[in-house]
């Protein structure tokens, strides 16, 4: 799931860098046929739940750092509401993405906005991208990414997302997702040379959110 946040962050950066009317020339519109049979296969194998929670382990390899940065924690994804990403180790921190905001929750329960659609119009469309990722809406994703899907053994699959937008491609080389019924790993490769690998475990689907869980998105 962190791929969503990561993509959001990167896309946001890409949009933020453009002043005034700077923009890329119109690229080809959505190619809904591209995913083809492989995409259908992924859709069949991947199960989508109204809510999903679990554990994650993230390994970041950053340029300039001798050691990989490893963090662990728990996550909650609620379709239509957002992503809650709680890092427990090595430092306590919480990051939340909703339709209109990207914020961190401080230890005292208060929030600090990292981005807000009110202040930065680009946030909304980035968050829409996240929500189409959550919904595994490959047609919508195909507007932004070239998607290569392929089956892995009998129950598995992998998806490679490559940005169509040249400006986004300057930050993000590709994102690779792999899994079976659930997404099991995400690998993000940045143009800067940094890579992030996230593995998910103990994933539990749920039909609805508990009250305290819903409050996390406020």
């Amino acid at each position: 799931m962190s791929r969503f946040v990561r993509a959001a962050a990167l896309a946001l950066v890409a949009f933020a860098g453009m002043a005034s009317f700077a923009a890329t020339p119109a690229s080809a519109p959505a190619v809904s046929a591209l995913a083809g049979d492989a995409a259908r296969l992924v859709r069949e194998r991947l199960k989508l739940w109204p809510a999903l929670k679990g554990e994650f382990e993230q390994t970041k390899t950053l340029k300039g750092f001798r050691n990989a940065l490893v963090s662990k924690g728990e996550f909650l994804v609620a379709r239509g509401q957002g992503v809650w990403w709680h890092t427990r180790e090595p430092f306590e921190s919480t990051l939340v993405v909703t339709k209109t905001r990207l914020f961190t929750r401080n230890p005292d329960g208060s929030t600090s906005n990292l981005a807000d659609a009110q202040a930065e119009p680009g946030v909304k469309q980035v968050n829409e991208l996240i929500f189409s990722l959550l919904a595994a809406d490959l047609d919508a994703l195909a507007d932004t990414f070239t998607i290569a899907a392929q089956p892995v053994s009998t129950a598995g699959w992998s998806l490679v997302l490559t940005p169509r937008d040249a400006n986004l491609a300057k930050f993000l080389v590709r994102a690779t997702l792999a899994g079976e019924r659930d997404v099991q790993s995400v690998r993000i490769e940045e143009a800067r040379g940094d890579t992030t690998l996230i593995r998910f475990s103990h994933q539990q689907p749920a039909a609805a959110l508990a009250a305290d869980e819903a409050a996390r998105f406020q």
């Binding site: 890329t24 940065l69 829409e128």
Partner: protein, 789 residues
């Protein structure tokens, strides 16, 4: 003139030489005209009319720089309930525009390399560029908190939106600075388009530029029609779509096409009327044709000489110059009416007889126009030159060509005989109590009317664009959060850096307005290139804080990172201006301007974005109070003030023109001169009174029309005085025809929906009528004519 003058034979040779020489000159002008109309476009910058020494040059330059950016730009926004249908509507719109082959091209969008180049340009100065909020945060945050934040960001996915290596921006300040810069517009790239969402609709912004001349005066609504069809195509494709079209070309096209429509209806109407009159009077169209030739020659010469002297021709000059028609025609009419009155006289000899009167009529008109050119208003000087040359051209054409070309007899018609014979029966004032009483009454009536007269120079009076277009433009401005081009601050300083420093002082005050919600923001060069002092302070601040953060993170994670090196030299304005990255904000920099006494010789513009309430503008303007070199500019207000100043100056000159004309008349007619002057003076006063009684506001265009009235009206008086002993009836015929044709040409302008033309026309409608009616009243008693009973 004495009878001996008239009986002396005319020497033909000088006239022949003059006629051929004039033809040669006309050919030269014709050649020049050919290139003029192919290459020229008219100057429409109102500020160019301001006296140079009075107008702050930086304001004029600022206005021009901003206008240059938008004169060709067409902005269309297409809104739909969802992104997919917005895209569908935009595609339908684009296909329709592409199929129309209109003079429109897609505005250049930044290429793929733009973002990378822009980031690379600013990256060496990253440590010197902070937003006000960041500066406050770094100054006040505890070092431990910042280290904690940096560690948390490293653990989080996304890593804090980085645009640089971690050791070059450990606190992720850089992306936030860019976000603040991106605030210049609300539109953002999305799927290769510019997009924004507002009011529950997803909007796509389409930018086009016109490829033809910036201000086409052809009157064809090519762009507007193309956009209207494209809009229909978009709404056919997506019925819920909302399409807004705006941009200067649409306004210009609308104004031009309306002007064309009016010129056509009014123009053809008056041409038909004038043709009928001339035909009734002369039973031939030949005189009319010749007069048109003289008129064309005059206008062509006026355009050529004006563009030769000034390098360009202002649109207002041509509007005023169009009024030449009324003046220039009178010479031809006077000649033909006299021909009719003396059919046996050879044309050349007749012309020689008429020449002194014609010359005086020319002289008085020229005097009036020269008076116009006396004050240091470039616009007035241009109008004066244009008019003098134009009227001179028409005059010479009439005098040197008409006697040669006009060989046939000009027969009397029933209509002309009726007017010629009727002249003697017209009433006239005698020096008695009755006349005195009438004059006193008239003066009182005029005084009452003039007292009612209200002055109004508001620029918006001249605005005649349709409400729908204005509303669409306003809505687009709001959607995009565009900066207002007509209200801004001008900042002056002794050096580049001084200007930037003063901008920063102003921005600190504006930040408070932004916090209050009065403003969405502002645009300034110092947003992109802070002053040297600010850059040095911010570089020191980021170095101190970031060194601490990196040391803290190294300690916790066992790393040995060091802060990346930045350029030791500051970002200079010169470097910024020379780079393509400054393109979007370069128009804000005015540069070197004439030095003031306080030593300031450089200037820039600070624009406002998203002013919540226009009524708050005077309050926002106060932000400049007490700041050295900062000045508030309100273009709407200053152009209105300019129109007012012109009106006032022209009014004074008009009075001066009357005096000069009266002196010129006295030189030829001695004590009878007042008879030729009185009708025009009375008409001027009477017109002002009538305008007052009608509730029409007095503004520049009324005064311009009164100046024209002086030129035309005096001619009538001269023609009647000139021929009082022989052919007075013929002179009267020329006055009647001249007045009627002028009345038709310009009086019909009163029907125009363009406010300026309307007031111009209405003034002449009243004025010409009064002159024509009163001129015979002041004719002298002559022994050769029977006394009016």
């Amino acid at each position: 003139m004495s009878p001996s003058d008239a009986s002396r034979p005319v020497r033909r040779l000088p006239w022949q030489v003059a006629a051929w020489a004039w033809l040669a000159f006309c050919l030269v002008v014709a050649v020049h005209q050919f290139s003029f109309w192919r290459s020229t476009h008219f100057d429409t910058d109102v500020m160019a009319l301001l006296p140079q020494d009075e107008q702050a040059p930086e304001v004029g330059r600022a206005t021009r720089q901003m206008a240059d950016q938008i004169t060709r730009q067409v902005v269309v926004t297409i809104g739909a309930p969802d992104w997919a249908s917005a895209q569908k509507a935009a595609v339908a719109w684009e296909e329709s525009v592409a199929a129309a082959h209109a003079p429109l091209k897609a505005s250049a969008m930044a290429g793929d390399d733009r973002l990378r180049d822009t980031l690379a340009f600013y990256a060496p100065y990253r440590d010197r560029l902070l937003t006000p909020a960041q500066r406050a945060q770094l100054e006040h945050a505890a070092p431990g908190t910042l280290v904690q934040g940096a560690l948390a960001a490293l653990a989080q996915p996304g890593g804090g939106l980085r645009l640089a290596d971690w050791n070059a921006d450990p606190l992720a300040l850089w992306p936030q600075w860019w976000l603040a810069r991106a605030g210049d517009t609300r539109a953002r790239p999305r799927d290769g388009r510019l997009a924004l969402d507002d009011g529950g609709l997803e909007w796509i912004v389409l930018l086009r530029e016109t490829t033809g001349p910036a201000f086409s005066l052809s009157g064809d609504a090519t762009v507007s029609e193309t956009l209207a069809r494209a809009q229909a195509a978009a709404t056919r494709s997506v019925p819920d779509a909302k399409v807004l079209s705006g941009g200067v070309p649409l306004f210009a096209e609308h104004a031009a096409s309306r002007a064309k429509l009016e010129v056509n209806t009014i123009g053809w109407g008056s041409v038909a009327g004038v043709l009928a009159l001339v035909f009734l009077a002369f039973r031939s169209l030949w005189p009319r044709l010749l007069m048109t030739v003289s008129l064309l020659a005059g206008v062509a010469m006026a355009l050529s000489v004006t563009s030769w002297v000034f390098g360009h021709v202002h649109l207002l000059t041509t509007v005023f110059g169009a009024s030449l028609v009324g003046c220039a025609e009178d010479y031809g009419l006077y000649y033909f009416a006299s021909r009719q009155g003396a059919p046996q006289a050879p044309p050349l000899k007749l012309m020689a007889t008429l020449l002194p009167g014609l010359a005086l009529a020319l002289l008085t008109s020229v005097l009036g126009y020269v008076a116009l050119g006396l004050p240091p208003f470039p616009g007035l000087r241009q109008m004066a030159l244009f008019s003098v040359v134009g009227i001179l051209g028409a005059f010479v054409t009439t005098v040197v060509w008409f006697p040669w070309v006009d060989r046939g007899a000009v027969r009397a018609t029933r209509f002309s005989t009726w007017i010629v014979d009727g002249y003697a029966r017209l009433p006239r004032f005698r020096a008695d109590r009755k006349a005195l009483a009438v004059h006193v009454l008239l003066l009182v009536a005029c005084a009452v009317g003039v007292r009612q007269l209200k002055v109004n120079d508001d620029l918006r009076q001249l605005q005649s664009s349709p409400a729908a277009l204005i509303e669409a433009q306003r809505e687009i401005g709001r959607l995009l959060g565009l900066a207002s081009p007509s209200q801004f601050f001008v900042v002056r300083g002794t050096s580049d850096d001084d200007v930037l420093g003063r901008e920063e002082a102003l921005k600190a005050r504006l930040d408070a307005r932004v916090a209050d919600g009065e403003l969405a923001g502002y645009r300034a060069v110092s947003d992109w290139v802070p002053s040297l002092a600010r850059q040095a302070a911010d570089a020191a601040l980021t170095k101190r804080v970031e060194d601490g953060v990196i040391a803290g993170v190294d300690h916790v994670l066992g790393e040995t990172q060091e802060r990346a090196a930045f350029d030791s030299a500051p970002l200079t304005l010169a470097r910024w201006l020379a780079s393509p990255v400054s393109a979007s904000a370069r128009a804000l920099w005015i540069g070197d301007v004439p030095r003031h006494d306080d030593g300031t010789a450089f200037a820039s513009v600070v624009m406002l974005r998203g002013v919540r309430d226009l009524a708050a503008l005077p309050d926002i303007a106060k932000s400049a109070d007490g700041l050295p070199g900062v000045r508030w500019v309100d273009q709407v207000q200053s152009v209105s003030a300019l129109l007012g100043r012109y009106r006032h100056t022209m009014g004074v000159l008009l009075a001066g023109g009357h005096v000069a004309v009266l002196l010129a008349l006295a030189w030829r007619y001695g004590r009878r001169a007042w008879r030729a002057w009185m009708p025009t003076a009375l008409a001027t006063l009477g017109t002002l009174a009538l305008l007052g009684l009608c509730g029409q506001p007095l503004q520049l265009f009324n005064v311009l029309a009164l100046a024209l009235l002086l030129g035309i009206g005096i001619d009538y008086g001269i023609f009647l005085l000139e021929r009082e002993d022989a052919g007075a009836g013929s002179a009267w015929l020329s006055v009647v025809l001249g007045a009627a044709s002028t009345w038709l040409s310009f009086g019909l302008l009163a029907l125009s929906s363009t406010p300026a033309l309307h007031s111009f026309g209405l003034t002449l409608l009243f004025g010409i009528l009064i002159v024509a009616v009163t001129t015979p009243l002041y004719r002298p008693r002559t022994p050769s004519l029977p006394e009016t009973p």
